[in-house]
Amino acid sequence: MNLPGRSKGFMGSIMVVDLSAQTIETQPVSLKVYRTFLSGMGLAAHVLYHRIPEDADPLGPDNMLGFVSGLLTGTGSLFTGRWMVTGKSPLTGGWGEANCGGHFSPAIKRCGVDGIFFTGMSPKPVYLYVDDTTAQLRDAGSTWGMDTVETETFLSARYPGARVACIGPAGERLSLMAGVSTDQGRMAARSGLGAVMGAKRLKAVVLAGNKRIHVHNKEAMKHISRICNKWVQFQPPFLPGFLTAPVGTLLRIMPWAFTQDGLLYKILLRKWGTVSMNQISVEMGDSPVQNWKGSNRNWGFFKSLSAHPDLFTRKETRKYHCYSCPLGCGGICRTSGRHPRTHKPEYETVLSFGGFVLNRDVDTIFDVNEALNRAGMDTISAGHVVAFAMECFEKKIITLQDTAGMALEWGNPEAISWLVDQMISRQGIGHILADGVAKAAGRMGKKAQRFAFHAGGQELAMHDGRNDPGFALHYSVEPAPGRHTNGAWLYYEMYRLWKKVTDAPKMPLVYAKARKYETGPDKAAMGSANSRFLNVLNGAGVCQFGAFMGIDRIRIFDWLNAATGWHMTPDDYMAAGTRIQTLKQAFNLKHGIAPRDFALKGRPAGHPPMTHGANKGRSIDIDTLMADYWEAFGWDKKTGRPTDHQIAEITDVS
């Protein structure tokens, strides 16, 4: 039923909760804001830019924490179950964002709003409960101290059918690696926003609304979804897991590269999930090894067999689909560790606690995965900290005296589990390490800083910029740095944006591999397109794994028009992506961030270059890449500052 006066695609308002004053208010959002910034991350950028004062302490009452859904969520589109947490990051001091799947995203919109924003600090632990007629802050005293699974189980039993997002002990103890959990262990993990939630003494958000989400053209939505689904269901048989490594080897030794088609990646994802890439990545040099100093020579073909994808799917008891996902890359696995089951560890977790610390014990990976999910701690950051501590131990900066006799040797599974537990409980050396490598190195002194690798304070992910300089660029240049989802040359190839967007350079089918490592205007255009398109995805709530299948197959722009009734071209949507990027950059400048400070330094940038392995001899000209990227946005080449006119144009929207 399309009745006049109803918002189409979006809900048209946000909920603002003041935890200090214990007030809850629903505020309308103008159509102009949606057309300028879409919804989701763009809407959050608009709200937070204006409402967080420049001197706000990320863990203080002035910071705002937003939970936002996407414009396409709940509209009958596919791959649109992503929700995002946003705020001023305590890790970087600038724009913070974390992105998650599961089933929480539609729950936000079914409460009649596109986002829920928290300000202030509650004097005692509380959770927010919202249904169709009620929005209340309720006492969370009985759940404070529970882990994420216990919390969600407790609240789900009390409110059947409700969706829950919560923090665990890591967030309560203000670990800057803390994230927000939903669906019993899916994490919006990055940017340390779980600590912001903990500082606000907000244990959980419980949503039980049933509002309907209206669209402009329901039949068009379904038609596009059916086309999308046909591509997803195309699933020819693929190799056994232990043979994935040679694919990576082949990709490494070939002197030329094929433009990657995301349909192949989709086939891998549907069969195994993200763990499909474990050995391929190590072999081709995409995955960093041993705190960025190792290579596929240190954790090669046979050693990395301990992470081959069949090992994970053998323990899978069922697949797991996020909301509106026809693919189902997730899974629930049985384990033999301290907990009977866990979410199937993701690629990032397996490599963070595999090759990055030279660990070959897969049971430890399952165990640590569940321990961190329950604690509500980011596995990427935690893996980085463990590797950092192991290298400090190797260099005798950390001694047996500091570790109560535990030898933090590379690949020691006992040491890994012990260190993770110490960080979660913030005991002993865990207290020093629980806030990430940048803070830990700051506490440990100059010698340790040489082994702490991060971008602007945030640990890097398991993708090596020396293999794909696009990762290095986006780790460095984004307002929320250090995140692998930001962009890469590989992502650009898979998005196939040139099929729809006029200024996106077309990739040839085959090209000399050396071209990947050159700088130039085409790279700046690719980087800029990556960022702009990601902002569209995050505004719409689209999963990147769907988008990787290509914009001509997963017709996001068409879905947006069918949902809203707008008649915007792909270029118009990309322009919205530009505005969101500019706003996030302006947010950082407002909060005193110098964008150049986020630039990768040391090993991850190839300084010094590797002397062995897949990335031997490669250095990234990160300064040129960043300057070219900023120029592509029309910002100052040296400082990354948008012009006053550009900032005024987007900050005046209301």
């Binding site: 089933h103 169709d132 007629t133 059947p160 379904k222 069922r318 509106s324």
Partner: protein, 139 residues
């Protein structure tokens, strides 16, 4: 625009009890009212009202339908993508997902409890691949 309760209402509270969003208020034996903002147009109030006192958003009276003749969803698992859009669309929390196919680890939707289903059809309306059909319930 929402469903509306006319002065023919006898205050039997049947609509108030079944409304999944608690959008209906009113005392026993008094005329009930529907909240515009909370109503989701599921129509359950109209289907259950013995007095024919409920009008739909277009102003037409909704006739009472015996519960036996209400529709319920059936799932074609060969078409189903296991995306759980239907489960989310159900305002009565009557659907869930579980493993149902041999050697297939993807969980598919099913109706947990027929008595909980209000026959609103939101699940079928939401399914992008028409894997959900509505049929009269048996018995």
């Amino acid at each position: 625009m929402a469903f509306f309760i006319t002065s023919d209402c006898t205050g039997c509270t049947a609509c108030k009890s079944i409304c999944p969003t608690c959008a209906i208020s009113g005392e026993k034996k008094q005329q009930h009212t529907v909240s515009d903002t909370a109503c989701i147009d599921c129509g359950a109030c109209g289907r259950i009202c013995p007095a024919g006192a409920v009008t739909n958003p277009f102003g037409r009276i909704v006739s009472k339908i015996p519960k036996k003749q209400w529709v319920r969803p059936f799932f074609n698992l060969d078409l189903c993508m296991a995306c759980s859009i239907c489960v989310d669309a159900c305002p009565a929390n009557a659907l869930d997902i579980a493993l149902q196919k041999v050697r297939d680890l993807h969980p598919y939707p099913f109706l947990v409890l027929e008595s909980q289903c209000m026959g609103c059809g939101f699940c079928a309306e939401a399914c992008p691949v028409d894997a959900v059909t509505l049929e009269k319930r048996a018995g």
